[in-house]
């Protein structure tokens, strides 16, 4: 292993210490993400310095790169909080809540499945980078769900759509970094994520009300989940992988919003319906007015991301990024020099689009006389107070993650898992999860580990298509569990500092989904289709 210490079990576990420390401090001791992140970052610096040849230059470069990488995420978090508070200040969530209560006959499971599963999947289809969580979680809070539960729901609900979301950005990395047949790469990734999609629905139902809720929600979950899973597979294999999540999410929204509420078991009871109707008559203005901010956001995002010439033009206008020199550890692990590290295309960054939607909705509400007196000051106070906890979490966690990557700790952990022989397919998606956990991104996870997974598949003489499908599925599923996304979820729901509670909720489902996907991969490779290419 070039530039890395000799593989040994104790050192491998030592490399896990910063991650485990963060998880234990957040999930068991309920420390805030910011505080746990500082501990994780310092532990990483110590491990890097003593065992990975990390000197002051590379540790500083890693920390700085991490600090810069937070700008992108913080821009989204602050923007999403602005949109949420603009709508909240004009009382919009009360109207939205009443309308959804009426449409779903007050059925909370349906509201969860439509707004916490199909809707984020749909948004992820076009614009990922945390935007689905930032949009869906506050809506669920507005409907009366517990904020931490709402954040966890949106995190779980959007994960299945990540690989083929953002117009296929994560999937395209698999294509770019290998010389394998792109069509066959999409085949297995879509298969695993289709299964994960249905399991996401069940996870949300289970998190809401245990086995009873899963039973009650089964018809809706199967109808929406099988639709989204099937459409994802069909579009990824026969149309274009780049729009698979978008079309699947749209299909899920249609089925969830129009078909499922008509099923006999989900028809509202008369008493509930009457109450909701009465509430509707008391609404100060219409749903469309209340929802304007989100309409504006969806239209802006779709316009910029779907009209490719416009996107290309805007992306080329202003790009902010810093050059970094090549860095090498004392053991010889090298990071190439970059001209612009994690550059931000200002006019196409999700944060810009979200802030634009917030500004347009402010103008709209003001023109209709809904904006309260001293609303601007109230808005600013709320955002600053709500955003600080998430800001510290994202900052410290990202610094920890990037330092781990810069000195080769992340690579070392992945190489260790690669030594598991015939059991490797079970561990393969965990490497994807590890990448997403450290970087907060399926795309970056694929950038980090596509080469490694491909090499191991060749070494073990098993199908690289299946293994890379497992890699990217793990990277997608890991999005529900990575601290950056969790901080985003707690931040936009005004629960900064409670990241550990949110992580605890998603940890179980992340583990189950990753395990199921790994077992499926193992069965395909060694039981059902041994020798498959």
């Amino acid at each position: 292993m070039q530039g890395l210490p000799q593989m040994s079990v104790w050192l491998w576990f030592l490399c896990l210490v910063p991650i485990l420390a963060v998880l234990i401090l957040m999930m068991v001791f309920r420390w805030s993400g910011g505080r746990s992140g500082v501990v994780g970052w310092v532990l990483t610096l110590i491990v890097a310095y003593i065992w990975f040849g990390g000197h002051l230059h590379i540790l500083s470069a890693g920390t700085l790169k991490g600090l810069w990488a937070t700008v992108w995420v913080l821009y989204i978090i602050w923007g999403a909080m602005t949109v949420y508070n603009v709508v909240d200040l004009v009382g919009g969530f009360k109207v939205i809540s009443d309308t959804f209560t009426r449409l779903t006959g007050g059925n909370k499971i349906l509201q969860l499945l439509v707004l916490g599963w199909a809707f984020p999947g749909f948004v992820q289809g076009v614009c990922g980078y945390g935007a689905p969580v930032a949009v869906a979680a506050p809506l669920l809070v507005g409907l009366g769900f517990d904020p931490i539960f709402a954040a966890a729901t949106a995190l779980i609900g959007h994960s299945w759509a990540v690989t083929f979301g953002s117009l296929g950005s994560s999937y395209s990395i698999l294509e770019r970094l290998t010389t394998l047949d792109p069509g066959r790469l999409a085949l297995f990734a879509a298969f695993f994520l289709g299964i994960a999609c249905v399991l996401c629905g069940y996870s949300i139902a289970h998190m809401y009300g245990g086995w009873k809720c899963m039973r009650e929600g089964t018809p809706a979950i199967l109808l929406i989940g099988v639709t989204m899973g099937a459409v994802l597979n069909l579009v990824a294999n026969f149309v274009a992988p780049y729009v698979a999540s978008f079309v699947a999410g749209a299909a899920g929204l249609i089925v969830g919003g129009l078909v499922v509420p008509k099923l006999p078991m989900y028809r509202p009871k008369v008493a509930d319906y009457t109450t909701a109707e009465v509430a509707a008559t008391n609404e100060p203005y219409s749903f469309n007015v209340a929802f304007f901010a989100y309409y504006a956001l969806i239209i802006i995002v779709f316009t910029v991301y779907l009209i490719q010439p416009l996107k290309a033009y805007l992306a080329g206008l202003i790009n902010i990024g810093f050059p970094f020199p090549e860095t090498t550890t004392l053991l010889g692990f090298t990071n190439k020099a970059v001209k612009k590290y994690q550059s931000i295309a200002v006019f196409t960054a999700p944060g810009t689009l979200i802030f634009t939607a917030a500004f347009l909705s402010y103008l709209f509400y003001k023109a209709r006389g809904l904006w309260p007196e001293k609303g601007g000051q109230m808005l600013l106070n709320r955002i600053i107070k709500q955003a600080m906890g998430a800001t510290m979490t994202v900052t410290t966690m990202t610094m920890m993650g990037v330092v781990m990557m810069e000195v080769g700790i992340t690579r070392y952990l992945a190489e260790g898992l690669a030594n598991t022989g015939r059991l490797y397919p079970i561990f393969s998606p965990w490497i994807g999860v590890l990448g997403a956990f450290m970087t907060g991104s399926n795309t970056n996870s694929n950038v980090l580990f596509t080469g490694l997974q491909w090499d191991v598949a060749k070494l073990l003489m098993i199908s690289p298509f299946v293994i890379l499908g497992l890699q990217t599925s793990g990277g997608a599923i890991g999005n529900m569990f990575c601290p950056m996304n969790v901080a985003l979820g707690t931040g936009v729901t005004g629960q900064g500092g409670r990241e550990g509670e949110c992580l605890r909720r998603t940890a179980l489902y992340n583990a189950i989904l990753t395990f199921v996907v790994g077992i499926l991969g193992w069965l395909i490779l060694y039981v059902f289709f041994p020798g498959i290419e």
Binding site: G34, R35, V42, L56, L64, F324, P325, G389, T396, G497
Partner: protein
């Protein structure tokens, strides 16, 4: 008694403390960046020390 005072200080200035740590990290960015790109040991050392202090403040108030 001391623990209670410390706790109240932490709680009372929680927001200001986190904001201060965040601002300090970004004020340190140019110094540390200068050290990284020019391999300047003094800038690297000072910059790294400051970001560790900022981390300590973030730890205390988060």
């Amino acid at each position: 008694m001391v623990a209670a005072e410390k706790q109240s200080l932490r709680k009372r200035y929680k927001f200001e403390g986190m904001l201060g740590a965040f601002i300090l990290m970004w004020l340190d960015f140019p110094l540390l960046y200068q050290g990284v790109v020019s391999h300047n040991s003094a800038a690297l050392g000072a910059g790294f020390l400051i970001i560790l202090v900022a981390g300590g403040i973030a730890y205390y108030f988060s």
